[in-house]
Structure formats: C-alpha cells, structure tokens
Symmetry: C2
Subunit: 205 residues, 2 copies
DNA sequence: TGTACATCAGTGAACGCGCGTTCACTGATGTAC
DNA sequence: TGTACATCAGTGAACGCGCGTTCACTGATGTAC
C-alpha cells in the first residue's frame, strides 16, 4: 500500500516529532522503535525506509527537540517588553508545568546525561543547539557587553537545566519548589550583577 | 559452593559498588544485570539471593553513589582553609577530570534525567542526598545567614550540575570549557553577592 | 487523456540477541550432638 | 574436639519478552507510451 511522496514526507516528519517527544519523556535508550512507530500510527517494519538506523533518528529527533525548545521559548517571550524578557523566560523554564511535562520541554533537561553517551552526530547537534540557545538568552541581557552577556547566558542556561533536573529527580515536591525558587532568585541576581555596558563598557578579559 | 557469611556480605557490597559505578557510567536502563554481575566477578544467577529486584539495587546503588560523591568532595575540600573551600569545591566539580569520569563523579550529574523516571524509593533517596549535599555547600558560605546560604547553595548545586551536563553533552571541547568557565565565574559571583551576616544580618524573607 | 507497467511506502513475520527473572543444583559453611 | 547433617551463597541453564534490524510481500502512486 504505497502512499504519495508528500504523504511519505509527512510520515517521516511525524516519526521524528513522535521520537522527539518520546525520547524526552522516556529517555532515548528506553524508547523502542516498535512502540515509537505505533505511537506514530505505523508498523515498525517501515522504519528503515525512512532512517538508516535508530542512531540516525536520534540525531534528527534531538535536532528537532532542541530547535522546538528554543523556538517555543522565544515565541512566548517575544510578547513581553524587552526589559522583562529574561524574567519571563526564567519563569517559564522554572515553572512546575515545565517540570511536569518533559516531552514538550527543554531537550537538554529531558535527555540530560544520556546526551553525553550519544554518538558524535547527536553531540554535534547539541553543540549547535547550545550555541543558539545561549545566544537567545544573551539577547535578553542587552545591558551587558556581548562577551559578558554570553558568559552570563551560559551560567543561566546551566542553572536552569540543573534546577529542573533536581526538581524532577526528587520525590519531595516542597524540596523541588525550593530548588526552583532558589535558582530563580540567583539567576536574576546573575542577570543584574556587574558592570552594565552603558555605564562601564568593558571588553572580555 | 557456599561462601561464608562475611564473604557474602562483602559480595553484596561489591555488587552495590559496581552498580553505582556502572549506572553512573552507562546509565541505569542501559546497564544489564548479567554484565553488572560479571563486572563484580560473579554469575548473574546469584543476583536474587542478594536483591529483590533490579529496582531495589538501583535505590541502594544511588544511595551509595550520592553518599560517595558528597563524602569525597568534603574530604578533599576539608584540607583547604575555610575561606577557600567553596572555590576549591567548585574547581573540583567543574574540572575536566570530573567531566571525563562520570563513574566516580557526581551521581546527580551522571544519572540526570533518569532519576526523574526512577521509582519512588530511588527518588526518596535523592531527596535526602540533595538536602545533605546542599547543606555541605551551604557550610562553605559561612558569611551568610543560614537561610540565605541554603538558597545560594541550591543555586550553586544547580549551576554546577547543569554546567557539567552541558559540557558532557557537547562534542566541541572548546564549547565545553567555555561552559565550565562561565559557570565557575558566575557561581563565585553568587557566593559573594548580597549582604553578609556579619555586616547586615537578615532573616529569610 | 488512457492504458500498462515499474516503483516504492508501508505491512507483518521473522532473525539473533540481551534483558530481568526463575530454578534445580553444587558443595563449602554453619550447627547440633 | 569430631562427626553427621542442614543450610544456603553462588552456578549455570532456561523462561518469556522486547530490542534493533531484515525481508518478502502488497497495492497505490508515479511514469512511459
């Protein structure tokens, strides 16, 4: 039962989207191809018509997952006045809604340590995604010189990722909330600490 | 071939230690019991003489892994004068040696998102370990009131975890180093920002 | 435009393999006399 | 203290199952005339 080329392209996209969500929800290793294909409304035999191997799908699904994460955040934050964008971004990232729904949330937080064990192609995807992501966060810090903003953005990305990882790991919801609120407080402190470019322009040291 | 009770107790300990290292190195889901038992110098049949299920071992191995992490850090940092302990701790945690060897490093960083999918017993273990860990970091911040030190310690724990997760995930070593150094810089800024208890005692707000 | 045929997207059975778990067995350890 | 027997730590084969991957097949799509 052959389908049209447009339909086949749509099928392929659907597999990648389903994979991105399942990998983020259950982990890469724990997600089987048969279940994944079934979730996409297909039988598992057709998988190798679209992808060379599971690893190839992993790289593509991660690329999509990371892109979606950043795009969604940027879209939601764009509606906020520039001066409040960082705070809006931090509030969304550290929300309980984000912690409760890894499948649609940050790919780095959802995959975590598993990325460090992924094949080089997937890790190269992570390179580009992280640079892009840090660049977006840095754009929420217009008061700082670009190099300083980038360094702060990296630290902010790390703090947010770590806080959500801890919040998801622990059983005690009060401890999880304490972690999220402590991270929020200190991220905003990072964002406002140090010399502003308008007062004290400074190049990287 | 029965062995003595002392030997059996040592065998059990060896299984838990081996599990802690393999879970941290390869991930919990990706570590099979047969390979794990072989690594401990045993055949897999004996496993259920020591543990009720893999999940029970996971909880025990995580408890050990988390405890080891904190104990080793505290031990190494104890040799440093109190005023420099935070910096020493941060330098160890963000070292390339730590990034390159998950098996002996921080259990939270090594297991990451997998903990969020673990059973309640394992996540309860994470609760206690995180509280203990945050308490140790707070003890490196004696200049702050206890509640403020705890909040800063949580943010520091999150930043360190996130930075190592990113550093391990990316393929580009320069990007990894940039992440580690940006995290270091901003963690030390967190640690020195805000009112000190000696100058401006302040209760939690 | 209509027909005949080649292509190929998706199906479903099957492959070898490693998974977590069970169990009959072995033989040294621990115990009772 | 020495002997006879029960216990049980560890062995190794086996269980059903899901894994990633392969392949012969089906039948609608795409193409050539």
């Amino acid at each position: 039962m052959r389908t049209s080329r447009e339909e086949a392209a749509r099928t392929r996209t659907r597999i990648v989207e389903t994979a991105a969500a399942l990998f983020k929800r259950d982990g890469i290793h724990a997600t089987g191809l048969a279940g994944l294909m079934a979730e996409a409304g297909l039988t598992h035999g057709g998988f190798y018509g679209h992808f060379e191997s599971k690893e190839h799908l992993v790289a593509e699904a991660c690329a999509l997952g990371f892109r979606q994460t950043v795009d969604r955040l940027v879209e939601r934050v764009a509606a906020v006045p520039p001066a409040r964008r960082l705070q809006a971004f931090v509030d969304i990232y550290l929300s309980e809604a984000h912690c409760d729904d890894p499948a649609t949330g940050c790919g780095f937080a959802a995959l975590g340590a598993e990325l460090g064990r992924a094949d080089p192609a997937t890790r190269a995807v992570a390179d580009e995604a992280l640079r892009h992501y840090v660049g977006e966060i840095a754009s929420f810090l217009p008061d700082f010189a670009p190099a300083a903003a980038t360094r702060k953005a990296r630290a902010i990305a790390a703090t947010l990722l770590g806080a959500v990882t801890f919040a998801r790991a622990v059983a005690d919801q009060e401890l999880a909330r304490a972690m999220l609120s402590s991270a929020r407080e200190n991220v905003l402190a990072i964002a406002s600490a140090g010399p502003r470019v308008s007062r004290l322009p400074r190049t990287r040291h």
